[in-house]
Amino acid sequence: MDNGEAPLDLASRKLTLSDFQKVRTLGTGTFARVVLVRPAHGTEEDRSRVYALKMLRKTEVIKLKQLDHVRHERRILSDVSGHPFITNFVASFSDHDFLYLLLDYIPGGELFTYLRKYRRFDEDMARFYAAEIVLVLEYLHEQQGGIAYRDMKPENLLLDAEGHIKLVDFGFAKRLGNNDDEHAVETYTLCGTPEYLAPEVIHNKGHTTAVDWWALGILIYEFLTGYPPFWHQNPIEIYKQIVEKPVVFPHDPPISPAAQDIIRQLCTVDRSRRLGNISGGAARVKAHPFFNGVDWDATIQQRQRGPIIPPVRYPGDAQCFDIYPEEDATRDEYTDDMAARYDDYFTDF
């Protein structure tokens, strides 16, 4: 390995795993592992940097039939990169067994961790995070021509060192049409997280960007109470509740009328009535009384620090993340046969 002073060219398609040193695992999902890495060579400045490397095992991607999804993830991440509340995409590459996405490292950890730690957020905190998320959805849906995110939940919201939201995990994001381009407006593949699925996804009616507004309602509810409105140990029971039951609020903690109203309006089964999907789009959401007092310009410019300042001691500090076993359980071989059949799907990486 070259340990010289030659700068590390991250834009190069020729990156390999040996260009990086693994520090530790930051998170694991269904078929991905995200690790904190440092460049293994390059200038001293290069080597002082840290990144998050999302590793997707090809055999798992194939087994779980996620070929289309990983391609969308790579594509959309690079398209939307640069928004203040979205994790920045740096590069992608692949080797025999894995696909890799190199991302800016977001050191504050998952909003999920803080929410569980605090049990719930007060309305000011919930409003702060919800406002940043509304701006992300406005950007994806309305300024990026109809990208549905489809996996909104506290686990996929990270905090940066200043306490602002960074959305990660574009594994289910999909570009849908919203104007005169060739993309279909609705899509049919069931995906998301059980507690956050919109009713039209469960019923396979064809879904649109409106699913993200539903999920925002679930998210605000979970912020304010500490748990989602539809919950059961058996996922089928969750789905039944989602399609059949109204959202009900606990007496304790008391949820303000404005908060109850925005949650109900977002979690409306009828899409011709769902806030965010109805005429006016995100602007109507921003104008809801729940967001009274929010300075939207200040929000997008991040003029204020977040209500939680993560205890990040230095740029590569990973103490805000849970500890995960470093070994993968599955070691299925990516055979030549599979390579012949599927490698075409991975050429974007």
Partner: protein, 391 residues
């Protein structure tokens, strides 16, 4: 926004939820469920493996203020739902499906013949299930046709195995089945490997419905309890495909109908699709008055199938005939003016309808939409073609 009191959430105790985060084995999950729900999977299929929530903010958290008051809240304090699972949640996904109509391919759902009695029993067996209850007549007929018979000739056959990926939903036609759950989450080798008997499923019962949504590991093992059992099986891809193809075809039909409505000619494809999404299908028998002359108009109709005619008071002969793809009453989107004619079905008809208020909620006032059009012929065009326009 206040940040007072939130300087650092990180107490010295790094695991606020202790053991409660990892104690929900498949066992108690399943035992509380009633029969129909037994064979489903936990929300988090890999739960317990990646969710080891250990000290991320351990002793080295130099920045932790000693007074952090928020350390170790009890896991299920008052006010939390009983047994709420606080662990990280994994995503789920079905295989991606694209409507074949996209590619001009043709797909006909599989159809396996059944006697009227069998159909009746099947309808009854799945009727109350939320995955089937919202289907329209065509969709349920296709689904019932697609269920395939699966004879289980002997006792002791494992139809589904705990821990295996599930792809099929089953309805019991004949015989009975035992349900076993092993607390480790999967079938093990050895005499007790299938775990404990937790239930029995008899004729008319069903199991494995989660498999119709996505491929999750089975939460139980189901074994035939007697010889000569019969099941009906339905796989996920067929189920989802039937729903998707019919929905897709109907939406495209609505969109193409909407394209023909002059009043809405300036809608973008995206807007048309939003409207198509909100249209509601209704059926009427022959001779039904769909709209009545003189009534205030609130909604607009597309004729999906069948035929209808328009009459005006004092005139026996119809002033207009409507067939599939025609529309009427669209001026109701503009105002509540009284209907200028009655429209009566001649055959059984299926209409798709949308109210003015739903239209306005989605796209704002129609006037605004009309103003977009460059040409001014819209209004007179409507007048000429539509007897409902007051002349």
């Amino acid at each position: 926004m206040s940040s007072a009191g939130f300087t650092s959430p990180f107490g010295a105790n790094s695991n606020p939820f202790g053991s409660n985060r990892v104690d929900t084995g498949a066992m108690h999950r399943v035992i509380e469920e009633d029969e129909n729900d037994i064979v489903t999977s936990p929300t988090t299929p890999n739960f317990g493996s990646g969710a080891a929530f250990r000290g991320p903010f351990g002793a080295d958290s130099a920045y932790d203020p000693p007074t952090a008051g928020l350390r170790s809240p009890p896991p299920n304090p008052e006010g939390y739902p009983h047994q709420y699972n606080f662990a990280r949640r994994t995503s789920v996904s079905a295989e991606s499906l694209k409507p074949v109509a996209d590619t001009y391919d043709n797909w006909t759902p599989p159809s396996h013949p059944k006697s009227p009695e069998q159909l009746e029993r099947l309808k009854h067996a799945i009727g109350g299930n939320f995955l089937f209850s919202h289907l329209d007549d065509e969709q349920s007929a296709q689904i019932l046709g697609a269920l395939v018979e699966k004879p289980i000739p002997t006792k002791g056959i494992k139809v589904i195995i705990q821990g295996d990926a599930g792809d099929f939903f089953y309805v019991v036609e004949e015989g009975s089945f035992d349900v076993y759950v092993n607390p480790t989450g999967a079938l093990q080798v050895g005499p007790d490997g299938k775990g404990q008997l937790v239930g029995k499923i008899e004729a008319g019962g069903s199991f494995g419905e989660l498999a119709l949504m996505y491929g999750a590991p089975r939460a139980a093992t189901v074994i035939s309890a007697e010889p000569h059992c019969t099941l009906w099986a339905l796989d996920r891809v067929t189920f989802r495909r039937i729903l998707m193809e019919s929905t897709f075809a109907r939406r495209r039909m609505y969109e193409s109908f909407l394209e023909e409505v002059p009043l809405l000619s300036s809608l973008t494809p995206y807007e048309r699709s939003k409207i198509a999404d909100a249209l509601e299908s209704q059926k009427f028998p022959p001779g039904h008055t769909i709209i009545r002359e003189g009534d205030p108009g609130h909604s607009f109709f597309l004729l999906e199938s069948g035929e209808a005619v328009a009459y005006r008071k004092g005139n026996e002969t119809p002033v207009k005939h409507y067939k599939k793809g025609d529309f009427f009453g669209e001026l109701a989107l503009l105002n509540d003016a009284p209907r200028a004619a009655s429209v009566v079905s001649q055959t059984e008809v299926k209409v798709a309808t949308l109210g003015k208020s739903a239209f306005q909620r989605l796209l704002g006032p129609v006037e605004g939409i009309m103003r977009r059009t460059k040409y001014v012929g819209v209004k007179s065009g409507v007048e000429e073609m539509d007897p409902l326009q007051v002349s």
